[in-house]
Amino acid sequence: MTRRVPEWMVGLAFVSPWIIGFLAFMALPIGMSLYYSMTQYTMLEPPIWVGLDNYAAMAGDRVFWTVMRNTTVYALVAIPVGTFIAVVLAALLSAKVRFQAFFRAAVFVPTIVPLVATAMVWMWLFNGELGLINIVLDACFRPINALLGTDLAGPNWLGSAQWVMPALILMSFWTVGQAVVIYIAALKDVPEVLYEAAEIDGIGVVGKFVHVTLPMISPVILFNVIIGIINTWQIFAVPYIMLGTTGAAKRSGYFYTMYLYDKAFPFGEMGYASALAWVQLMIILALTGLTFVVSKKFVYYRAA
């Protein structure tokens, strides 16, 4: 009897909560932002239609290109390395060991510590003179310097234009906890029989990981990569707290969403900010689409 209901109606019925919510709360604001992107809008005065001027202006906006470059570099390094770290940590945390709950909690903690505390700890860790990172680095460099007569020293992380980006990327690895939790849940779903079968075939630990674990959790890896893309393009609060509005020396730690925020509020150009938002949307959408296409080769859906 249920067969008579067409699948598309069933599908729509299932997703209807989201559709209703979208129409009620999202459609209008999103539409408005698209309209604003084609206006000159200060929020204090009514918008004035300017067509595609805002989009055209981006081409000649130095700062736009700076934040594009910074964000791209950050994303290119932070997402792949972060994914690798998260998967490895999840695998380690799924191994049957004592104090597993403690270790898991430890990895998760940085994602729940209030941002101010996080920012403060990092400012101390990266302190050029007294920071822990440089203390350790200098201890490592001392024998090397003595031996080779070099003059290696820990960099002045947050104070120099070259080292801000590495510092921020390093920091990003610290908040992989959220992804790790998702991977752990996914690893639980890998059927034991597959491992047993692999064992019978004489495949080792690494082989099992590559040939069994990775394909089985690939849908979730895809999820985390895409969320990673979205999040890196929206990175905002921590650099804002640590580096201030212009993102350290010569805007070297200035990211796309920071610029967007500055344009929207302190600079009073909500129209331009909305245009930035839509360009950002297109970029992320393109990257996500690309990821989905590429992932077809690697992601294994048992439901498909």
Partner: protein, 389 residues
């Protein structure tokens, strides 16, 4: 890989790796808690120590608070007088302590100077030693541990006199920042939204993952796209929308939308549902089970770990959300914890770091408890998930 314990060598390697990683990851927490038990002048040191140092300044502050307390309780003059004598003594010790710092700095400068005056440097060294002896003698008789505990208690609970007057201000007796009220407000939002969020997201995710229909790909792309619009540019229109609904100044903007699912959680659950073998529900469908039946009786029970993750993430989201409450609430009595924490960050300086971190710790503890329990009860609960083939 998970049911059999690893080999001993691998075990050691895993322990080492996990210990190293957790030390690194726990640093912010350790720093936070350690700052939360220090007196404010010892916070934010460039090379911080784990525990606060027992100083004459601390003893002095403690004695002064004690005096204010017993004075408010109506102690007699003799008791107060005795205390005053001790305060005077410690005042001197605290002054000596401050002098040491100053003297050491000037000693360093004398040593750095090009025309080093050896005699003056020696004199300065002797003077510093004398001051240090004076402070050490005084501190010898102090019960250090009790003092540290009292300092920690002061930061968290504070001291309130019998007349309700704040003598030492901690997080909990702050006359302006009502932490318990903010906790309650946050919990109200969590309670009102969490069931709706988990239920709706899983329902929608099922529709995207396990029902085949034309257009679901496009619609799913739209779901993802909503995540990619930065909040700053839709806040304005959203505010107008909620104003027209009459929701500004209520909790509704913070919990009603949750009942329609969120893109993040829908996406997450969709990926989990895609990973569940199709044979499971195909069999059920052949037996005449409806999609609803498959969803309710097969998919939901199987995806409990994922649902727990969604609930946890939503809880965290509400707990930490700052912009939503900032924009949509109008009364300080409606503040959530995230807004309350922000109150410690005054703009023109003078952030009481110890109180800020004590408040942060108090905000964090419930989250940590929920995480620990949720992860061991659900994510870890393989025995009940039944997903074994």
């Amino acid at each position: 890989m998970r049911d059999r314990p690893p080999k001993p060598a691998a075990r050691v390697a895993i322990y080492l790796a996990l210990s190293a990683v957790s030390t690194l990851f726990l640093l912010p927490l350790v720093w936070m808690v350690s700052t939360s038990i220090k007196p404010v002048e010892q916070t934010m040191q460039a090379s911080p120590s784990l525990l606060p140092e027992v100083t004459a300044a601390m003893v002095l502050a403690d004695l002064r608070a004690k005096r204010a307390m017993i004075a408010a309780e109506g102690a007699d003059d003799a008791t107060l007088g005795a205390l005053d004598d001790r305060i005077e003594k410690w005042d001197a010790a605290a002054a000596a302590e401050r002098e040491i710092e100053e003297a050491q700095r000037s000693l360093r400068r004398m040593e750095a100077s090009e025309r080093r005056d050896i005699a003056a440097i020696d004199a300065q060294r002797t003077r510093i030693r004398g001051l240090e002896d004076q402070v050490d003698d005084a501190l010898d008789s102090v019960p250090g541990l009790a003092l540290l505990l009292r300092q920690a208690a002061d930061n968290y609970a504070g001291r309130t006199g019998p007349d309700g007057k704040v003598i030492v201000q901690g997080v909990l007796n702050d006359p302006v920042i009502d932490f318990m009220l903010y906790l309650r407000n946050t919990l109200i939002v969590v309670c009102l939204s969490i069931v709706g969020m988990v239920f709706s997201s899983s329902l929608v995710a099922y529709g995207f993952a396990r029902v085949k229909w034309r257009g679901r790909g496009v619609l799913f792309a739209v779901v993802l796209a909503t995540m990619m619009i930065p909040f700053p540019v839709i806040m304005g229109p959203l505010f107008i929308l909620f104003k027209e609904l009459g929701w500004i100044g209520t909790f509704k903007p913070l919990w009603v939308p949750a009942w329609f699912g969120s893109a993040f959680n829908i996406f997450l659950l969709r990926q989990f549902y895609m990973a569940i073998p199709k044979e499971l529900d195909e069999a059920a469908r052949i037996d005449g089970c409806t999609h609803w039946g498959v969803y309710w009786r097969i998919i939901l029970p199987l995806s409990r770990p994922a649902l727990a993750v969604v609930a946890l993430f939503h809880f965290l989201f509400v707990w930490n959300d700052f912009l939503g409450p900032l924009i949509f609430l109008r009364d300080r009595d409606q503040f959530t914890l995230a807004l309350g924490l922000q109150l410690y960050q005054s703009q023109a300086g003078n952030v009481p770091w110890n109180l800020l971190m004590a408040a942060s710790t108090m905000v964090l503890v419930p989250v940590l408890a929920v995480f620990l329990l949720a992860q061991s009860a659900f994510i870890d609960g393989i025995a009940t998930s039944g997903l074994k083939e």
